[in-house]
């Protein structure tokens, strides 16, 4: 009994909390690990697909981390990447099938990006770097943490790109018509891929100027 209680307490021990907290800032998958940049460019022209993508990646990376962590002692090292890829692909297809059956409208939004989830470097990166060497619970937390770290960057990009590139947020008009009549116009660059790179670069810059320990030494 006492042992069980001890284990339950440790579920959110400082070490485990760090697994969630660190990927949000000092170990952020996009700005520090520089993983998953490709999808960050592709899906952030609007807030809604960015949000759906962020949610799906979080779910898939958490589940894949758990599955790989459970299998970690049986996986033959020589084919471990193939095993990881199979697990990720199977999970993504499963998620897509479930979405199609129960929330068809969302799946229509998502369908473009399913392929991108399978190839998302964050997944392989976390499976290889963390889940292969850790127990299921910390692997799950690590997945959630990295998913959220990826999410907030995507949502921030989607916010700025949709607001200034389209004048809308979540499809609703934010910048009033009178602004356009007064000569304001949307910034077309923001809906093109380079804008995402510039914005990610800006976030990296702000983050590193506030936390100098992240700056690489040359």
């Amino acid at each position: 009994m006492s042992k069980q209680q001890k284990e339950r307490e440790s579920l959110f021990s400082p070490r485990y909390r760090k697994l969630i907290r660190n990927p949000l800032s000092i170990e952020n998958p996009i700005t520090v690990q520089v993983l998953g940049i490709c999808s960050a460019l592709a899906v952030t022209t609007k807030l809604k697909p960015a949000f759906v993508m962020a949610l799906s990646v979080t779910v898939v990376v958490a589940l894949a981390n758990v599955v790989i962590s459970l299998l970690r002692n049986g996986i033959p090292p020589r084919i471990r990447i193939i095993v990881q890829l199979t697990v990720v692909a199977a999970l993504v297809i499963l998620v897509d099938q479930v979405l199609k059956a129960f929330v068809y409208d969302v799946s229509k939004q998502l369908s473009v990006f399913v392929g991108l989830i399978i190839t998302n470097c964050i997944l392989m990166g976390r499976l290889e770097a963390f889940a292969m060497a850790n127990k299921p619970w910390p692997a799950f937390l690590d997945g959630i943490g990295n998913g959220l770290g990826y999410s907030w960057i995507l949502i921030a990009l989607g916010f700025f790109r949709e607001l200034f590139g389209n004048g809308t947020l979540w499809g609703y008009r934010i910048i009033p018509q009178s602004f356009y009549e007064a000569g304001y116009s949307n910034n077309g660059l923001l809906i093109l891929p380079p804008a995402a790179l510039i914005l990610v670069g800006t976030i990296i810059w702000i983050q590193r100027s506030r936390n100098r320990s992240l700056i690489e030494e040359y």
Partner: protein, 245 residues
């Protein structure tokens, strides 16, 4: 770890994943098919300027789509399904079950084909809904165009896509874009088929008397816009023989 272990591991994993995925696909298929049918109905109703939700799409469809018509290449009505009595007046093919994509392929291959049509009747509004199907930049685009009783003026239109670029080509599924088609005409004053197409730089670039055949294209979505223009011209062009009868 021995090679035989690796082989056994891989084989078992592949079979396991295959079983899980195919059973999931089989179990969820009926639900997915229902969703696809509902979304098709919503597309048809939205072209008639209604706003059905996933829940009321089926009753709305059965109320307002009075007839489903199937025509042959000569524009003859070979099958008419009456929605109220749920019976065929002639023929035995429901337009709703006709896959336009397959029929367009058959036409391109020089084979015999049939085309679907939907008759929308509301108190003081009668529209002829023509489904269209074509190619955008990344994949298929499709939609429905509703013609008024003069079989020339567009009363409503809605377009959809599978994977056009969000914010650019994907804008074709927005109401601001499809609403532009209302009041446009597909034939000129001499009865010649012109179609309606998105104009790069805006419909204002056309001469005054041509503007009835154009809408504003999407900036940054030129290829999708052109694909949409071609889709309307190509598919509506096949229906011309029926429309001018």
């Amino acid at each position: 770890m021995s090679n035989s272990y690796i082989f056994r591991y891989a084989a078992i994993m592949v079979i396991l994943v295959a079983v899980i995925l195919s059973s999931a696909a089989m179990i969820l298929k009926p639900l997915q098919d229902k969703n696809i049918a509902i979304s098709k109905m919503r597309g048809i109703l939205e072209a008639c300027n209604l706003q059905p939700t996933a829940e009321d799409a089926v009753p709305m469809y059965e109320t307002y789509i009075a007839r489903e018509v199937v025509i042959d290449p000569r524009g003859e009505e070979i099958s008419i399904y009456d929605m109220k009595s749920k019976q065929f007046i002639t023929g035995n093919t429901r337009a709703f079950d006709v896959n336009l994509k397959i029929q367009l392929k058959r036409k391109a291959a020089g084979e015999d084909y049939i085309l679907p049509l939907y008759m929308y009747i509301n108190q003081n509004d009668t529209l002829l809904v023509i489904p269209v199907q074509g190619r955008g930049l990344w994949g298929p685009i499709y939609g429905n165009i509703a013609l008024k009783t003069d079989r020339n003026t567009i009363g409503g239109a809605r377009f959809f896509h599978d994977k056009e670029t969000p914010g650019l080509g994907a804008e074709i599924d927005q109401h601001w874009f499809s609403d532009q088609f209302k009041g446009k005409q597909i034939f000129d004053e001499n009865g010649k088929f012109i179609s309606v197409r998105p104009i790069k730089g805006g419909v204002g670039k056309l001469p005054e008397n041509q503007r009835i055949h154009g809408v504003d294209a999407i900036s940054g979505g030129t290829i999708t816009s052109n694909g949409l223009g071609n889709m309307i011209e190509d598919v509506m062009g096949i229906y011309v023989v029926y429309l001018t009868k």
